[in-house]
């Protein structure tokens, strides 16, 4: 135990003092916060100027009705839309559209709307920037409203226009064991962030463990070490030492995030509006489960990475073999959207029970809904049993591998090493 502790201490202390560790610890959250700020900035700034629209109304009475429905304001107080031109019942549609297209191409106009004579036909929005979905909402609402009014008028029913409101305000409420919360996309946001965080951490710290083993081989420190430490103690110390580094880094980041969220909550209270940050609530149970699954996954994968490191004699060899440990993780990233769309389906359930995928997929399910407890328990049990098996197998490969130099072993050779006494 004393020796394992010495190995852990050395691994941890030399690890956290490296430039790479310090730089990633500081720079990654800074980059993340920067990106986040940039996205918020872009989202808030998007409709920064008034949208210039022309309406070609082949049905009649629609243009003025639609423009009355487009009274939205931009954050700076300017109107969201301005109707540059409004042509009711044009005599020559083709030439009118020709002219409007010219105006769009010369930049005088952003789009024109064509309302067909037969209102059952689609209404067309002609624009140069067809990716601007954020304006489709208010536009279609205005068109719908104008159509309803026109039909009501046709039946002789006259209503106050203001009675027909805009879009119904549909609010998603997430039902969970702990109660209900208003959903504005923050659950998906947290879920995807969790998947990415778990995936990146498992790969990054796994490879760190592999590198650390490899360093002892390439610098020939290994034989000096195994002459006084059992290979298994060395392996255990290394994995725990790197885990210590991982938790140090994650704690620092988690602390920063908590501060940021706390700040967001304070801000929203003082400002009084529902800022997207203030609505993010990460339940404590999710954090605990995520830590449990991360730990299990980390030990599982870093044992595999360490075995690969011990079997190789150079970085190049290791890079060729590391796919063995990477493959299940990469596969996880390919299929996680299946769970995102339907976390309670049978496929989601089975995938999240498989030990190699569980470290990422079970926390993902947990963030989306509350799976039955037996499923969580089973996943944890399977994961830790597999992890123990993997550490045992890695220990065997490690014991043989650390003293082997020369060509990269093949897969059958690695399997044969498992059988050495």
């Amino acid at each position: 135990m004393r020796k394992t502790w010495l190995i852990i201490k050395r691994e941890y202390l030399t690890g956290v003092r490296t430039k790479a560790f310090i730089i990633t610890t500081i720079l990654l959250p800074a980059l993340g916060a920067g990106f986040f700020a940039l996205i918020l900035f872009l989202v808030n700034k998007q409709p920064s100027r008034t949208f210039r629209l022309a309406i070609v109304d082949e049905a009649g009475e629609m243009a003025s009705s639609i423009s009355r429905g487009l009274q939205g304001k931009l954050p700076d107080g300017q109107p969201e839309f301005t109707i540059v031109q409004s042509i009711e019942l044009p005599s020559a549609v083709e030439s009118v559209e020709e002219d409007l297209r010219d105006q769009i191409n010369s930049g005088k106009l952003d789009a024109y709307l064509v309302v067909p004579q037969d209102l059952k036909q689609p209404v067309e929005l002609h624009t140069r920037n067809s990716g601007n979905f954020s304006l489709l909402g208010p536009l279609s609402t205005a068109v719908n409203r104008a159509m309803i009014l026109k039909r009501l008028n046709a039946r002789g029913i006259h209503v106050d226009e203001s009675e027909i409101s805009g879009a119904a305000n549909l609010q998603l409420i997430k039902v969970g064991k702990t109660g209900e919360s208003v959903e504005r996309g923050q659950t998906i946001g947290v879920a995807i962030a969790l998947v990415i965080l778990l995936y990146v951490s498992l790969v990054a710290y796994g490879i760190l463990t592999m590198r650390s083993v490899l360093e002892e081989k390439t610098t020939r420190t290994m034989e000096v070490l195994v002459s006084s430490v059992r290979p298994f103690e060395l392996l255990a110390g290394k994995i725990i030492g790197v885990a210590g580094m991982a938790f140090t880094q994650l704690l620092i980041w988690g602390g920063c995030l908590a501060l940021l969220l706390g700040y967001g909550a304070v801000m929203s209270v003082s400002v009084g509006s529902g800022s997207p940050l203030s609505s993010i609530r990460i339940p404590g149970s999710l954090v605990i489960y995520a830590v449990i699954f991360f730990l299990g996954g980390y030990f599982l994968y870093s044992a595999m990475f360490a075995a690969i490191g011990s079997a190789c004699s150079s970085e190049q060899d290791a890079q060729q073999l590391q796919w063995l440990a990477m493959a299940p993780l990469v596969f996880t990233m390919c299929i996680y959207s299946l769970i995102l769309t339907d976390p309670s389906s049978r496929v989601s359930m089975i995938l999240s029970e498989i030990p190699f995928f569980a470290p990422v997929l079970m926390p993902l399910r947990l963030s989306l809904q509350s799976p039955p407890f037996w499923q969580i328990g089973l996943a944890i049990a399977l994961l830790f049993l597999t992890t123990i098996g993997a550490i045992y197998a890695s220990g065997k490969i490690y014991r043989v591998g650390v003293l082997m130099y020369g060509k990269r072993p093949t897969l059958p050779e690695l399997v044969r090493w498992l059988r050495y006494s």
Binding site: L6, T14, E215, E223, V224, S227
Partner: protein
Amino acid sequence: MDAIALENVTKSYDGVTAVDGVSLQVREGAILGLLGPNGAGKTSTIRMVMNILVPDEGSIRVFGQLVSDETRESIGYLPEERGLYPRMKVLNVIVFLAALRGLSEAEAEKRAREWLARFELSDWADKKVQDLSKGMQQKIQFICAVLHKPRIVILDEPFSGLDPVNAATVKDTMLEMRNQGSTIVLSTHRMEQVEKLCDSICLIDKGHNVLAGELRAIKESYGKNTVHIEFTGPDSFLSLPSIASVDRFAAGAEAKLKPGADTQEILKAAMQAGARINRFELLEPSLNDIFIEKTGHA
């Protein structure tokens, strides 16, 4: 009691027998030279003594106890495949390795500073290992092997990479440790070092122990069968039937005699041939000769 005793030790990997029935005793307080060509099984033998490998058959005892993780605490080991963490500070590496061998960190640091001073490396204690020259790193590794004052020290090629001055320092240190009662196993290819340092030798070839014993006794058993002649003039006398082989050099030759050869006849033949004799000496065979004879190759 023997410091190390191997009995009929066998080890094979994937059907290749690396060590085949080797028996060997190392007397306490002696320096043993472990010799043998590359791939003879020396490193495998040492690794088994260090409990890094487990023998397939036979037993290994250290001070009478079967090899275990405890017995190796009393052994200092400088492997041939050696290195240090390049990005750690010199003092930290030494203390770390000594702590793994059971020393307290405070004691390890105190001794490390003494040894660094002795090897004129005090100024380098807080430098990173990668900033040191190869020879300096070699000395650090030697310090790491002996810092915990082990009763047995196993040194695999301790002189490789050392200049003559540093090699002499290491050699003197080894003799000093021997005089203080340590047992030393020296594995090397450099015969002249073995002849100067070792009390006994063990020669391994193709996994077998082909020769073992006190160096003195082994040499005496070969008798004085070599003639060292320095001369000028014709050398036709070197083809006498009583001469087994000849090693020529600038000032003369070394001739190995067949059993029962008369050295006087050789001297007479040389004078008759008209050679001018500057030196004529009867010698024991060199360790190098014994090595070549026993293994069939250098």
